[in-house]
């Protein structure tokens, strides 16, 4: 199985070095094509030209959730299978996922301003994404606080899985809280009905941003492996000095 082959960090590094340029190239091409498609897409009858924001907002939301999914699988890898690369994959997914979540929030806020007349409305969808963002920041803070990588990996894995179990509950509670307070009169961002003419550019943009996600994830994983090498070197250096 391919996964086992790349369990060795050195092999994974050479794999990343080979794959990354292609991945980056494909992502750049797909993004260029996607933005070109977005430029030519028609306006929405209801939301006008601002619907163009959807083409980056909605894929970012998907990738925000996808990022937590990656972290959850990596967390299982850490806790159950003890796969050597799972720690690294989990840690690397956090900043990438957080960046896409932030992108989703900021674009949503800039979409909401002309729609609602204010930068932030406690819309159920946006609020759920916002809580996801806070959880990403929590995981990153946990990684930064614990010095020893394998201990940090286990702690972060437990937090990630607890978050994954809680996310549906949070989503449900936020929906309930939102409908309790305001009837569904507010125009929702990225509602379920999408005109076919808008669907094609949306999917292309989603594909392009997903490629970017993978490229970034791989690059951050590579950095993380190098960072662990630096740490090992430090430890060896301390061991080589007298008095250890």
């Amino acid at each position: 199985m391919a996964l086992i082959d790349y369990a060795n960090p050195s092999k994974f590094l050479s794999f990343a070095d080979r794959v990354l340029p292609w991945l980056i190239g494909c992502a750049a091409l797909a993004l260029a094509f996607g933005i070109n498609q977005v430029y030519g897409a028609p306006d929405d009858y209801q939301q006008g030209a601002t619907v163009k924001i959807m083409f980056v907002h909605v894929p970012a939301a998907w990738l925000a959730m996808f990022g937590w999914g990656v972290m959850s699988i990596a967390a299982l890898g850490t806790l159950v299978w003890r796969h050597p690369l799972a720690d690294v994959a989990g840690k690397a997914a956090a900043p990438v996922g957080a960046a896409f979540t932030l992108t989703c929030l900021v674009t949503g806020s800039l979409w909401g301003r002309p729609m609602w007349g204010t930068y932030w409305v406690w819309d159920a969808r946006l609020t759920s994404v916002f809580i996801l963002f806070l959880m990403y920041l929590g995981v990153i803070a946990l990684w930064r606080t614990i010095d020893e990588p394998s201990r940090a990996a286990r702690a972060a894995a437990i937090l990630t899985l607890a978050g994954a179990v809680n996310l549906p509950i949070i989503k449900f509670s936020v929906d309930w809280w939102n409908t309790l307070h305001q009837p569904a009169s507010v125009l929702r961002l990225g509602g379920p009905t999408i005109h076919p003419d808008l669907l094609a550019p949306l999917l292309i943009m989603a594909f392009a941003l997903a490629l970017l996600f993978f490229a970034l994830h791989l690059a951050v994983m590579r950095n993380e492996i190098l960072r662990r090498r630096v740490r090992t070197m430090h430890l060896l250096q301390a061991q080589a000095a007298p008095g250890s």
Partner: protein
């Protein structure tokens, strides 16, 4: 609702997305260079990992 009145928001949204992801990309690139440099410095100082050079390792 015409394009003219909201073009700034659309541009701002794409600009913000580019800025956030751009910062991440720059961080990854600079981090990578710094890590490579540190590892090269260790190489110069003669600190090596056992798995790389078992024969040369003094330990």
């Amino acid at each position: 609702m015409n394009l003219a009145s909201h073009a700034d928001f659309i541009v701002a949204a794409y600009g913000a997305a580019a800025a956030i992801l751009g910062v991440l990309i720059l961080w990854v690139m600079f981090d990578y260079r710094a890590l490579r440099r540190t590892l090269a410095e260790f190489e110069d100082e003669g600190v090596t990992r056992r798995s790389d050079h078992t024969a040369r390792s003094p330990l």
